[in-house]
Symmetry: D2
Subunit: 371 residues, 4 copies
């Protein structure tokens, strides 16, 4: 069996704790989200990676496809760790399975794993939307496990910390929705915004588009270039509306949003610029955010006048937020940066894993400085 | 005298026309706007560049500072064209002087040149704002030529074509304001927008920040990075408000705008995403824009569903605009791209020059394909 | 028939000359080389583009695939110019056909066109190598038109100017070989180099890899990244050896070269660093190059101490070369920059076209300043 | 006193070991090397950062200048860690002082610190060259502490491991020389190369040029651009010659090298392409390298046919090397990638620190996956 021998690869992994490591499987490890999970889990002291599944690359050493892992991951026999086929996975003793797959995969496999007592953490959209016909509309197929939707806990710890502690099926948020919700949550919860549409202008590095061969995403097409996409409606829209409405305490009356994503000519990073009309005192807004996040290990609210930059959180699970007051208006501008692959995907998935396995929430994620 | 011999440098320059070439001087040619003027004017069949002034680089060959001109610009004596000092300029016979300087320079020199019968085209902010105390507030000094402000024609041909034909002093718009005004003008003029704040989320390549040595603008700081700046108020704000109010037919009642600029990790290009609440039929909006610009040589309105990219206009005086309708709102999203150094600066300046010298407006600017 | 109406699209095209325009067809216009031909030919006063052929995009407006052409190319009927299928081309009256296709296409179609009296300018490798079995070895198929190989003139004007004037079949050089030959030609011709291997370390922007969907060339793979490729042998190697040997006057005894190409995270540009051991006086070398190129319109030799940069020739047909003398050795280092799509492909093809049609060699290519 | 409280900032730091942490001071922490030291040392379980000195930024919170540290570094009083002035440093109990300063600083201060029993690790060039007049020639000033030169140990662990274990003054290698030496060391030591010049074509990301405001290094100058520099002689040349000669066992007879550095439009990374003429069997060369580095924790030799990429080691202390055999020559091509700020500077400094304090050499450096 192809299993990562954690003690021999990294000197920082410690098995001094008495608890058994969490045994994890990653499905869809040949995409950027999956690779990021592999990177972060390989440095997580309490996790043992059992299998890394990719149907396309099954049998190949991971380092042959992703050279940053060369000499960094070896298995029990001292051999370079290889991708497995799904069929080759030995599920006995596995604690958690991460799905870093496109939509439509986790929903077909989750029940089987849950029945084995394996927790499922899904990085795709399969279980994010509560309304299954809305899901079918945006993802263009009928949901195959609607009965699991209600069971799934939306994987945003800063919102659903308690529910995540007892979750068995976790739906990790989309990357853009993560940044957007963290920027707005304290203001929505304390009713500081009017009902006028919230305008969300978001920009993401190209890793967010995935690793499929695609002319539009060639470096020759995107280099020295910038554009918007899906301006007439993006799949994250229903998730954003659902979540902001929950935060506003009006789950059945959608908060009105306008959302325009854009492609940045960088590898990773999301910057969301949010425009919302407030009621009550503007100078209060920075305070509300600072206080709401004062004890959140992964969210920082910058001083007034600062502008967060994507590289300041690159490679980390950190979020940086700033508040600006456009002159002569009753609008507030929020600036939010995250790393789309970390807090927007794999890092958040691990933050959720820590919660549902009773570990300190920051295990394996804190103290990493951006580069 | 250091003067560019146009016939010998470029084979496309034609002096078959009977009119004398326009004799031009460029002040502040060692910045990106000035270099862009030099690039475009050197390819303009009706212009003879008389002097290229830079106090800092006076005496040096232009190609020693800007290698793209190596073997491309020679003077009457067959020598590489050099920067001149201001004092060395022979103004006799000069028709037009371009100021590609920081603010505060043109306003100190314009009157002297106008008195000599020389037209002045200023790429700085000196003559853009009609309200001189507003100018003083944003540019932190008292205006030294307030009497010229009323005389200056705002250099946006798509708006002020007739006035530009007889102008002697032209105030070229800022780069961001150019993109913003062209996106909104047809809708403001036909009263299709409500009075709610127009939200402007703009992104620019780094050449917009100029060529001064500055740690924050080092490649090592901006590479693989993205952030907003001046979110609490940018100097272009009064210009944007002034112009949009004029377009809306309410020059004394400012159109309300929220403006957040951002820095893109590319060399050149501006992308503005504009959000406005409309009245009347939404499907009308694309038509209004298409018809308004149907005969404008430099403005293209893309089909619905398209998203313009900055590289599609890079190096050209073209503008591409697209319209999107965010679902379930009465807002329209406008996407506008320009090259900040061409339509946002030097190209627009030349477009104005063509007008005020009675040439076809597109001379030296049309037919250039982006790269 | 879909034909470009040149007078209405660009104001700079002049049909005042008495000669008929050269009627041109471009095959394979949906790749970067083809698009570059289209860009440059659309600005060439003596060329009328008759058809733009792409099997994959046949029927689509060119601007739908390449937005930089939006509103820039229209046909006789005032409609946006579209890609044609090969079968739809009306060859009557066509003067020249450019092949901007992968290898293996031109060699199958050239004879038919030559029989119609149409000149063929091939941007692929099909006719570059004189030795057909060497071609078969590197391009992995048998040459289908070996009888045409001897007829083809190698399309490097600085070397083969006279032969190109009477050529009917032109084999345009590869991009790397262009830069390499121009750097070394004067030294090889004057026997200033020893027979030790010439070391060529070359770096190219990603457009050189073409426009096919390919995971390895995604922006997400190449951004903020640099690596070599084909270090054990690249297809340009036989072309480089063949040509350098011809230049050295020893066509049957290959000049020994070591060639390592690398991928730069930029869109376009080639920088070649060449290391050669000299005989005779070193200070002579800069003179030899300067004199050899003194009258070449597209080649500039920079002063000692200068280092050429790729952006200084970006978008132009220019070449910049510098000479350096590494201390304490009898080697010279040559630094050569070109734009891989212009002087390395389409621009050079047009330079050859000008020659074989008796036009001034610089028509449509000179006076363009890099951006 | 401003001292970093390590236990409260990072959950991975462990003070379960009985040894006292190493108390460290960083001088010149406002440059990229210094920031990188701060990043890596803040994650090092056995180090307590006592002071972070920057004359220019003294008194400011580090996060105000480097936002990646926001909420990541706090001192004993729970306050954000600030830069100190040199005069404010309390040297009592300090174990090691890192100099991340330009040349000329460490040599003026080292003796004083050594006299206090503090180990000095210098990232500058001050103590790299054994020949002080050679140092004076290249660094343009007289060495102020020539008596310390002989005492300094050259900080390349893969070469000087034993000497580093007892060193009190360590001269960290330059970034380029690190990559170059690691590529060539096994071949020089086993006498597999001929005496002909070794050609070194090296490419570095812009962080290698430092953080000083400098027009040539603006993003607007370097974006979408590539060029060589110092082709006529670079300051690293004497260090490269000195070290390669030592490795070849001929310290007084310099190995002949030709070295051309180039600037890559990326933030960090070095790629060195080395060309050397071998004697003995070529297929032996890959084996020699593989065996030489089989047990080196930071050096990986890739399989034949692979090409290392800079991003595969970005942010880590890893080195990846590949071997290629250019056809028909007796040369070998070596491809070496490192991160210029980690293995080329701060990471290597910490690797040396681990050695001279008797810690496992990989402490704080191993198991970090590149991003």
């Amino acid at each position: 069996m192809n299993s990562l021998n954690t003690t021999s690869t990294t000197s920082r992994k410690s098995t001094t704790s008495n608890t058994q490591p969490i045994r994890a499987v990653i499905i869809g490890a040949n995409g950027y989200g999956g690779v990021e999970l592999l990177r972060l889990l390989s440095q997580h002291a309490q996790v043992q990676i059992v299998s890394v599944v990719s149907r396309r690359e099954a049998g190949k050493p991971i380092s042959a496809v992703f050279p940053q892992f060369y000499d960094q991951l070896i298995d029990h026999d001292g051999q370079p760790l290889c991708f497995s086929a799904m069929e080759a996975v030995d599920w006995a003793g596995v604690d958690v399975c991460f799905f870093a797959t496109p939509h439509g995969v986790a929903m077909r496999q989750a029940q089987t794993l849950l029945d084995k007592g394996i927790k499922v953490i899904d990085l795709s959209a399969d279980f994010r939307l509560k309304n299954q016909s809305q899901w079918a509309h945006w993802y263009k197929e009928t949901h195959t496990a609607p009965e699991l939707i209600a069971q799934a806990v939306y994987g945003l710890p800063e919102l659903n910390r308690e529910a995540l502690k007892t979750a068995t099926l976790i739906a990790c948020p989309g990357c853009y929705p993560t940044a957007i919700q963290l920027g707005l949550m304290p203001l929505l919860k304390t009713n500081r915004l009017l009902q006028t549409p919230i305008i969300i202008d978001a920009k993401s590095g190209v890793s967010g588009a995935g690793r499929s061969a695609n002319t539009a995403m060639l470096m020759a097409e995107r280099s020295e270039n910038f554009s918007a996409y899906a301006a007439n409606g993006h799949r994250h829209l229903p998730e954003i509306e659902q979540q902001l409405s929950i935060m506003a305490g009006q789950p059945d009356k959608p908060v009105s949003v306008i959302f325009t994503p854009h492609l940045l000519p960088i590898h990773r990073g999301i910057h969301a610029t949010l425009y919302a009309q407030y009621q009550k005192a503007p100078e209060d807004i920075h305070n509300v955010l600072s206080q709401a996040y004062a004890h959140e290990p992964f969210v920082s609210v910058l001083p007034i006048g600062h502008h967060p930059e994507t590289r300041a959180v690159r490679g980390t699970n950190q979020v940086q937020i700033a508040v600006a007051y456009p002159p002569n208006t009753d609008y507030v501008t929020l600036l939010v940066v995250i790393d789309n692959l970390v807090k927007g995907a794999a890092g958040q998935a691990i933050q959720c894993m820590n919660l549902c396995f009773g570990l300190p929430e920051t295990t394996g994620l804190r103290g990493i400085i951006a580069i």
